[in-house]
Amino acid sequence: MPRRRVLAWTLGLGAVVVVAAVFGFASSHTATGRAAPALPHESLSGGPVTLTSLVAGTRGRAAAVVFWASWCPPCAQEAPELERFARSAAGRGRIVGVDWSDPELHEARAFIRRYRWTFPTLRDAEGAVGSSYHLRNLPTTFIIDAHSRIRATLVGPQSAASLTSALESVERS
């Protein structure tokens, strides 16, 4: 089928010229490799955490920053695994959750209670911190190295094993 016919059929636009404003925009906006932006100030559970305190607490190792929301089904799928990771030797003190763009505070708190999370969670109520991380999907985990740089971006639900593997991979490199 001629390209323009496909276009017309698909978008109902007729013969138009479409120009990508940003070719390869996915890679041009990736967060991986740059300095990790500051974490939200508002604490939801587990006490206050800053990027500095998170990194310092790992004593030269990597840490995981997990963006989630109570309205996100894949986040619920991931939730028990995050707690499993947080309780493991590999994960203790090396994970912080960030509740992103979740206007209903009681829903976020209920989510944390439902999955009995013991690791600290912060609240990015207006979504600005997520934007600074170039967040595109939920859940997304950013692996932060000892120099506070984003070294890996994991999209979709993770398991305790995949998180452990990702941290180890960053530490080895």
Partner: protein
């Protein structure tokens, strides 16, 4: 199985946009090299959208009722930029993400610049998107009063879907879900459909483009 995060259903729409944007742009710029292509290329530099439609044509008709039963016509928003997307409230993946990212974009714009844009969502689920479900969805995502969520009968909605080139069909394996086109259109203040955003857009892209759309 839905295990790759909220962006699974975006793949079709995203691939579509990238294919269209890449393929046609290459044809336009490299193959023809005409004035239209040059103008399109120059125009695209002003936007962070995934694609710019050139020449921009008047936005298709969009006249439905919102979940409160009030009539809404896109033409009444002339003078403002308009963002048009297609959602359903029981959507597990891209719809809440699109809605939340639009909210973040409005936050980034701030009250004054956000007043120059109207966000419109058109239902792709005439059966499930009841006024009650829509009210709850908007509240859950902090968009009550900030997004016009339009509903209607299948016939009414199908007319709009067709006019806007949006596909919508119930998932064969999981009939509680609907496979639909997951994109956002940007309409200029003069009523022309100009920009297209993938469902995985970044709020900063919308925040950047809205003032431009509001000036055209």
């Amino acid at each position: 199985m839905r295990n790759n995060g909220l962006n699974l259903r975006v793949l079709l729409g995203l691939a579509l946009i990238v294919a269209i944007a890449g393929g046609v742009a290459v044809a336009a710029i490299g193959g023809q090299g005409g004035e239209q292509a040059k103008h399109a290329q120059a125009l695209a530099q002003h936007f962070e959208a995934a694609a710019v439609l050139e020449p921009a044509k008047p936005a298709p008709a969009l006249e439905l009722h919102n979940y409160l039963g009030q009539p809404v016509n896109i033409d009444s928003y002339r003078g403002k930029a308009v963002l048009v997307t297609f959602l359903y409230t029981n959507c597990p993946d891209i719809c809440p993400l699109i809605t939340s990212n639009l909210r973040v974009a409005l936050n980034e714009l701030g009250p004054e610049r956000a007043s120059k844009v109207q966000v419109i969502a058109v239902s792709v689920d005439p059966r499930g998107d009841t006024p009650k479900a829509v009210a709850a969805f908007l509240a859950r995502h902090g968009m009550t009063g900030r997004m016009q969520y339009l509903i209607g009968s299948r016939k009414e909605l199908a007319h709009v879907w067709q006019a806007w080139g949006v596909g919508s069909e119930r998932d064969a394996q999981q009939p509680q879900f609907i496979n639909h086109t997951g994109i956002i259109y940007g309409v200029t203040a003069s009523g022309k459909r100009l920009t297209v955003y993938a469902s995985s857009f970044q709020p900063s892209e919308i925040a950047h483009d809205v003032p431009e759309l509001a000036e055209l």
